[in-house]
Amino acid sequence: MHSSPFFIIALIAYGLSSLLYLTQNRWGTSAAIAGVIIQTIGLVIRTVEAHHLPFANLYESILFFSLSIVFLWLIVGKRYKIRIVSASALLIGFIVLLLGLFLPSGYKSSTPLMPALQSHWLEFHVATCFLGYAAFALAFGISVVYLFLKEDTAILEEITYKSITIGFIFLTIGIISGAVWAKYAWGRCWSWDPKETWALITWLIYALYFHLRTIGWRKKKSAWIAIIGFLAVIFTYLGVTFLLPGLHSYM
């Protein structure tokens, strides 16, 4: 596949960026931006090769997921200039992309779209869900750093809160767009299949995050909810696909 080299280079860029961020902001950001551009080029090539946008199988979704993580960080989080947090955000992007590249080659081949996926809802629904996941991934990274740091840095709590708000909005739009699409494709907005149910569970956990804050569960306590929420994201994304397959499994 002609797109593969681009993803490997992007991987190296993200890894480098994460390391560079430990020492200074400028080179870390440059490496991250370079990685994003190169990975985007790779995805464009993949789109041309596969004759559809890269949202149809596990490999393509991991590529988009890792790109979203770094991209969102550059847009929302970089301005805070907290090096340890930037480093962890890039590290998460690096690990996700690494997992994608480690998939057996059988997963990486592109297959033509089956009729159910031949719809513009595909891009919209999958992209919004993964942008949500990406924001939650960032919140997870920041919360982990927050729990390890000895001081109560209020700014970390604030970035986490913002990330989760962004993620919650995207996930809500993702779930609703999924319901709209399901109505047009299969006749029902909601079928309680494992993927839908787990997306709802993830959504409920982040709703809990907001509600717990109103009864005083803030600072480090809410960081734990951010972490639990991301574990739910992982299960919704990968656990359901491999352990509870159904109509929604696209490997």
């Binding site: 809160y161 919650f168 569970i201 907001f210 509870l244």
Partner: protein, 393 residues
């Protein structure tokens, strides 16, 4: 001693006077009246003026009504946790009936009541109102659909007309086409040209495909699946001689008195306890059963397999081969009526509007939060500085 916050104004009351300390620069301010007991917050001042006291007490009582169990935040949180756990169990059980069970629905009902009571008792920001109202409307839409709607699946062959169980409408399938990708058996597209018949008249015709249903009077007709459940004809080769015909049609083998009749066809032949059946509708192991007659007498029966031509040849001197077949496809149509659909969408829009508007509302200033109270005295509170949070609370 007390510092009292009423609306946006921070009061300090002392010796019969109330002095307004500051007007807090808050745009949308949701928390109500908070009066703190000086034993917990040392800089507080007692309110001794009776009128001020009465006003404050009245407002505190309003605040306390909100803390009733049904409208409490703690119940909301407990229900969110219970609902999450219930969904986790449901996902492993993977049975849809579970989500319609009495107790799962009960959780949703409790949650709705909780939202409703919380809603009626407290002042909130507009975003918060919309978000919670949206949830109630979504749930209502779901209930309407469950109670007043229907769902039905129909399989039709070309030319067939089918009646529905839940509706007086009938469907006619004019033609059904499947287009496959060139190098695989995966379908690229499958479409049905359908006509809806109402009271004997053809009222609407459309070609439907996946993602593009036909809608008539609130009933949605979907191209949901397809399959093959029969063969129009089979192609046989007997001792080098080709023959094509239907099941039940017989032909004589030339220069013999033998007559061959294909009687049964299976797409995916499987043997289970001596009984042959088709494991699936995919042509993974096509097989035809041939009855061979000598004159009027049935001499023997034999299964012939397309993919295993040399398997189980019984009679020496005669080689039977299954070389092909023409399948009869059927189109799987899903028929759905969902009266709650519009309500559901309205709920989604409300919810989204609420979330997005909350995102743009910033909160600044001083907020005193009440965490515990006894009768008319607030016993535990905490002043927190809220700055720039896009608050969904």
């Amino acid at each position: 001693m007390a510092i009292c916050v009423l609306g946006q104004r921070l009061f300090m009351a002392m010796s019969g006077h109330q002095i307004q300390l500051a007007t807090l620069p808050m745009k949308k301010y949701s928390t109500d009246i908070l009066v703190c007991d000086f034993s917990f917050v040392p800089q507080m001042i007692l309110i001794t003026d009776r009128n001020v006291c009465a006003t404050i007490r009245g407002n505190i009582q309003k605040e306390m009504r909100m803390k009733s169990f049904l409208g409490s935040k703690k119940l909301a949180i407990a229900l969110l946790i219970i609902l999450s756990l219930a969904c986790i169990i449901g996902s492993i059980k993977d049975s849809e009936a579970y989500y319609h069970s009495f107790w799962f629905v009960g959780i949703l009902v409790l949650l709705s009541l909780n939202i409703l009571v919380c809603f009626l008792n407290s002042r909130r920001r507009i975003g918060s109102y919309l978000v919670h109202l949206g949830i109630l409307v979504i749930l209502s839409g779901g209930v309407m659909g469950s109670l007043m709607g229907f769902e039905e699946g129909v399989n039709l062959r070309e030319g067939e007309i089918a009646s529905l169980l839940h509706s007086n409408l009938k469907i006619k399938l004019h033609n059904f086409t499947i287009e496959r990708y060139p190098d695989s058996s995966m379908p690229k597209d499958y479409k049905s040209r359908l006509t809806i018949i109402e009271d004997g008249k053809e009222v609407k015709t459309k070609t439907i495909e996946v993602n593009h249903p036909l809608i008539y009077k609130g009933v949605w007709f979907y191209q949901s699946s397809y399959g093959q459940d029969g063969v129009e004809s089979v192609n046989l080769n007997v001792n080098g001689l080709d023959w094509t015909g239907r099941l039940g049609e017989s032909f004589r083998i030339p220069k013999t008195s033998l007559v061959v009749k294909p009687v049964q066809f299976l797409f995916d032949f499987t043997l289970d306890g001596g009984k042959a059946y088709s494991k699936s509708e995919e042509a993974d192991n096509p097989a035809v059963k041939l009855d061979v007659y000598d004159g009027e007498r049935l001499k023997f029966s034999q299964w012939v397999f397309l993919k295993f031509p040399d398997y189980h040849q019984r009679e020496e001197g005669i080689k039977f081969r299954l070389t092909g077949f023409t399948a009869i496809p059927y189109s799987g149509i899903q028929v759905v009526k969902d009266p709650g659909l519009v309500v559901f969408w309205i709920g989604c829009c409300l919810f989204l509007a609420g979330i997005v508007s909350s995102f743009f509302v910033t909160v600044h200033g001083l907020q005193l939060s009440v965490h515990g109270y006894k009768k008319n005295k607030i016993v535990n509170c905490e002043p927190t500085t809220v700055n720039g949070y896009h608050s969904l609370e």
